[in-house]
């Protein structure tokens, strides 16, 4: 898509060009969590599919991947806090208006469930409990993989908030692609086939969501094409495209399929970092805030004030 300059280089006024918004204080742990959280959630759902269809090798692999990824997620989330020792304050209240509060409670249910499924898988202890936990984790998995899209969208940052319709499905696609791609690394033959197909379908969803998002955003989406976000975003698309192609030809070529799996997972990870940096860039330039709001006012869509 060709880049357009913001509202035809319309003049906008500012206070010495200084940002109106504060830059997000989150560090790289947060986009890393968006990746591992999505991987864990989608892997749990993939494991449930394997559980239902009797694909034992895939079930085992996906349960273990889900546990490893959720453990990494917990680490990323806690170390990013300003006061990591107070992480448990997240469970002081349940606040429906805070996607982070909703997500904390979701993880508090999902983590133990996917952990129990994995432990039962490895030890062979209480397989019925493991299967029940696998069902809980598999059902919660899609929520874990997509609520993060709401988390970033529920902010004042134009590149995030204006992308609110597309971020969850973008993250869902990346989660599916990475769950399939990672599972492929540990499987071969027929057992691996659902993972390969999931990786391809996830990559398609991700690429489609990204195109839709760019089209919808228009000028407010400028940060996605510029600077660090633009570079990482372009790399993400190329990795995902190359990975999907390798996966497509990898039906009976396990090594090619594995390479494809690595590429789509890397693409999904890069996409989260691109979104993260686009938000930082969007907050840094007051023109995005002013242009978005002035445009809204010009259209008479101002909240509460009838046009």
């Amino acid at each position: 898509m060709k880049e357009r300059s913001l509202v035809g280089k319309a003049e906008f006024r500012s206070y010495y060009g200084r940002p109106i918004l504060k830059a997000p204080v989150w560090r790289w742990f947060i986009p890393a969590y968006f990746f591992t959280g999505g991987l864990s959630g989608a892997s749990a759902t993939l494991a449930l599919g394997a559980q239902v269809t009797g694909n034992r090798a895939l079930r085992r692999t996906s349960r273990l991947v889900s546990l490893a990824a959720i453990a990494a997620s917990a680490f990323f989330l806690v170390v990013d806090l300003g006061r990591p020792s107070r992480f448990h304050h997240m469970l002081r209240v349940a606040r429906p208006t805070s996607p982070m509060s909703v997500g904390s409670w979701l993880l508090a249910l999902f983590g133990p469930a996917t952990g129990a499924a994995a432990v039962s898988e490895v030890t062979g202890v209480l397989p019925a409990v493991g299967d029940a936990a696998g069902v809980v984790a598999g059902v919660l998995g899609p929520a874990v993989a997509t609520y993060t899209g709401v988390l970033v969208a529920d902010s004042a940052i134009p590149a995030w908030h204006e992308a609110r319709d597309h971020l969850p499905v973008l993250f869902a696609g990346g989660a599916a692609a990475s769950a399939g791609g990672v599972a492929l690394q540990f499987l071969a033959g027929d057992a691996a086939e659902p993972a390969r197909r999931l990786a391809i379908a996830g990559a398609q969803v991700e690429l489609g969501a990204k195109r839709g998002m760019e089209r919808k955003l228009g000028p407010v989406g400028e940060p996605y094409h510029e600077g660090v976000a633009g570079t990482i975003g372009k790399a993400a698309t190329q990795l995902t495209l190359a990975g999907a192609a390798a996966l497509g030809f990898g039906r009976s070529r396990p090594r090619l399929a594995r390479l494809g799996g690595v590429l789509v997972a890397a693409g999904a990870a890069a996409e989260r970092f691109a979104v993260f940096h686009a938000g930082i860039q969007s907050a840094a330039d007051p023109k995005y805030v002013v242009a978005t709001q002035r445009e809204r006012m010009a259209k008479g869509e101002t909240v509460g004030r009838p046009s």
Binding site: S14, T53, H89
Partner: protein, 281 residues
Amino acid sequence: MTVVLPPDGDLASSYDSHPQRMGFFTDTSICIGCKACEVACKEWNRVPEDGIAWLGSSYDNTGSLSANTWRHVAFIEQQVPALPSVGGDAGVRWLMSSDVCKHCTSAACLEVCPTGSLFRTEFSTVVVQPDICNGCGYCVSACPFGVIDRRESDGLAWKCTLCYDRLKDGQQPACAQACPTQSIQFGPLEELRARASARVDRLAEVGVDGARLYGHDKDDGVGGFGAFFLLLDEPEVYGLPPDPVTPTRDLPAMWKAAGRAAAVLVLTVASSFIGGRRARR
């Protein structure tokens, strides 16, 4: 654990009985840029030093509100035709404005806070409890005004408390007390709103162009500010958003988008176990 819906500014749901809603009316038309408010705030609230530097933006060497700046005086120099009614040098207009947390009726920081650290006081102001905050930083990205920020030294979110401690003792906030021109007026919000409307009318009468109220409208995107302003130019000239909206207003639509995305994910996984015919040769 308790399920807590964050209260909005009318307080009906949170307290059985409560004092009147208190707030600020900052009339920038009489601000002289003395920065007594910045200093009084720092001293009373023991806010740490936030860097001493020349910013090259008129007399403003503070830059913006932050974790360590809860009142910020903006200085704007404009080339304009002489305005005899206002005075000053012909050809130059100097705008000065003391910015502060808006204590929104629908406060994004409070709505997204996952720990319950941010809360609505009995005066309908929005305050951080530093012993509860775990420094998650969500409020920082949620505030449409870029007010609240995380302090590097202690990892906690900080902003104006509207001097909650002083209010409880029947005092006015330190900045309002220190203001020598009554540019910063403190009082019951309803009273301030009436006073502000009269002031805008008066300025129009004497021929001051462009005087407008910012944040007094209860129907705006944040439900009206608890601390609102009289400005002499567009809000963005002062570094303020022209049409702020609390991001959580769109939350129902966002959860629906997440629901659709979750459904897509379920279908994608399910189809990867089914669609085998095409793949087989």
